[in-house]
Amino acid sequence: MNTIKLKSTVAHICLIIASLFFIIPFLWMLSTSLKPITQVFSFPPEWIPKPFQWSNFKDAIEEIPFWTYLSNTVVITIISTLGAVLSCPLVAYSFAKLQWKGRNVLFGLTLAVMMIPGQVTMIPLFLLFNKIGWVGTPLPLIVPSFFGIPLYIFLLRQFFLGLPDSLRDAAKIDGASEWRIYWQIMLPLAKSAVLSVGLFQLMASWTDFIGPLLYLTNETSYTLSLGLQQFQSAKGSEWNLMMAVSTIMTLPIIVLFFFLQKKFIEGITFSGIKG
């Protein structure tokens, strides 16, 4: 009995020490975001803001065109996520359950494309979007997701392969069209996998940096990532305000995480095991 107690105490101590490494930067971010600027530059550093300067958040929002950045980020995130969850399951289903000529070749190509680093396509894509006048608009960050993303197609295909054919056959005998079978039977069954993919795309889009850096040349079209980076370049010493912006930018994801905790973990394991 006593050794068990000792063991669990030791375990807790180890876990708490490890946790400190992960939690302290967060607490430091919060603490700094509430400090007056004079206290930010006190050495040795102090933990408790004196006084709690909540107006930092207001100031930070006013110092940069925060609402513009936020709405740009939200629009890009939502539309590109929508594009991914509409196109990827459809293509994945076709790869997994439908018979057609050239399917295996195309699937092989999809796998091959997954291995090509994004840097290879980056320059020609930029030139392509430049030619059609999309540079400076968010379109290059939104439109491609409607045409499928190879990793998600692959993951969803694996998921569809695991669904029984009997359902499809039964619906077929009932005379349902291929579209109805997909939309009303198979897609609802894949809901959780589609949600995982949606979450991936949402996170990727929200935190994307290189995409906005390449394509959003106009300050009024900046996203939060790009805005924060610019703010940091321009006013590198206003750490309290920068920590406030960082907090605001991270908070929505953390809130989302607390609602969809299981989904986050499932998604990562799913991609890790299947991929």
Binding site: L15, A18, M29, V91, L109, Q119, V120, T121, I173, I254
Partner: protein, 314 residues
């Protein structure tokens, strides 16, 4: 029940033997139709750019002028480009230190988080939180933590009597700083290790207990060997990710790679060539070299995996 009856009556009443061939054609048609967004996407956003990128890598293409075909000149110029080699050196430095450390810490952390103690879900949440911080925010946060004069890290070091280095301002410490902050975000890999630990059948541990194996033996003869498939996955992903490092060093240095180009990574230099100097042919050649490097490393890891990756039941 009703459904099958309906189905049977339907098939028997409606003679469906004739349109059989027709449905087969129709079936193929549906497949193409469903896949058509991706067929377009694959051609437009992948195939075409890959082919043009390869072509550009043999030209002096820039956005300002069409450029001339110059054969392998970009590639041979790269070999004599001092900064190119420096960027490879920095990238390899990061990969060689970060990837093994991330595996050691990741596995150790996963094993700790796999213990049966109260409140584990809280601990698991805590270590996962950093992965939710956007990269730019992560960079800004760590710039502040590692601030030489007023940062928390040097403040804590000062308390125990060490005067901390300039971290990101020092040529020696800039890459280790990057490694620290990257280790802070290893939560995703840990989640995969945790899933791997959960997949190890309990029978192995029961058998080991019967044989009187201690913790050390259980860890090194059961847990770690059976975790190798997951380690393998994280190794491949880690190496690929390390070679594509961009956002963190860019944000940390405002794109300059300072001090003294110690944070100029491979992709940072590629970006500079392509979008700062508009040497797009040169940058394309770099992209293809990157592709080849990643390919070779991945193949090497796959090839070596036969010797050290063990699957359960084999």
């Amino acid at each position: 029940m009703a459904r099958t009856e309906k189905a049977i009556s339907k098939t028997s009443v409606n003679p469906r033997s004739v349109p059989k061939k027709k449905t087969k054609i129709k079936k193929g048609y549906a497949g193409w139709l469903f896949a058509s967004p991706w067929i377009i996407g694959l051609l437009l956003f992948y195939a075409l750019p890959v082919v043009s990128s390869l072509y550009f890598s043999f030209t002096t293409y820039s956005i300002l002028q069409p450029g001339d075909f110059i054969g392998f000149k970009n590639y041979s110029d790269l070999i004599h480009d001092h900064l190119f080699w420096k960027s490879i050196g920095n990238t390899v430095y990061f990969a060689v230190i970060f990837v093994p450390l991330s595996i050691i810490f990741g596995v150790a952390l996963a094993m700790m988080l796999n213990m049966r103690v109260k409140g584990m879900s809280i601990y698991r949440t805590v270590f996962f939180l950093p992965t939710l911080v956007p990269q730019v925010a992560l960079a800004v946060l760590w710039m502040w933590l590692l601030n030489p004069g007023f940062g928390l890290v040097n403040g804590m070091l000062d308390k125990i009597g060490i005067s901390g280095p300039a971290w990101l301002g020092s040529e020696t410490w800039s890459k280790p700083s990057l490694i620290f902050m990257s280790l802070w975000g290893i939560g995703q890999a840990v989640v995969i290790y945790l899933a791997g630990l959960g997949d190890i059948s309990n029978e192995y541990y029961e058998a080991a207990e019967v044989d009187g194996a201690n913790w050390f033996q259980r860890t090194f003869y059961i847990t770690l060997p059976l975790l190798t498939p997951v380690i393998f996955y994280n190794l491949v992903m880690g190496v690929i990710g390390a070679f594509q490092q961009f956002t963190l060093p860019y944000t940390l240095t405002q794109g300059s790679g300072k001090p003294n180009n110690s944070l100029t990574f491979y992709v940072s230099y590629l970006y500079d060539n392509g979008f700062k100097y508009f040497k797009m042919g040169y940058a394309s050649a770099m992209a293809w070299i990157l592709f080849i490097i990643i390919m070779i490393l991945t193949l090497l890891i796959f090839w070596s995996s036969k010797r050290w990756v063990h699957y359960q039941g084999k």
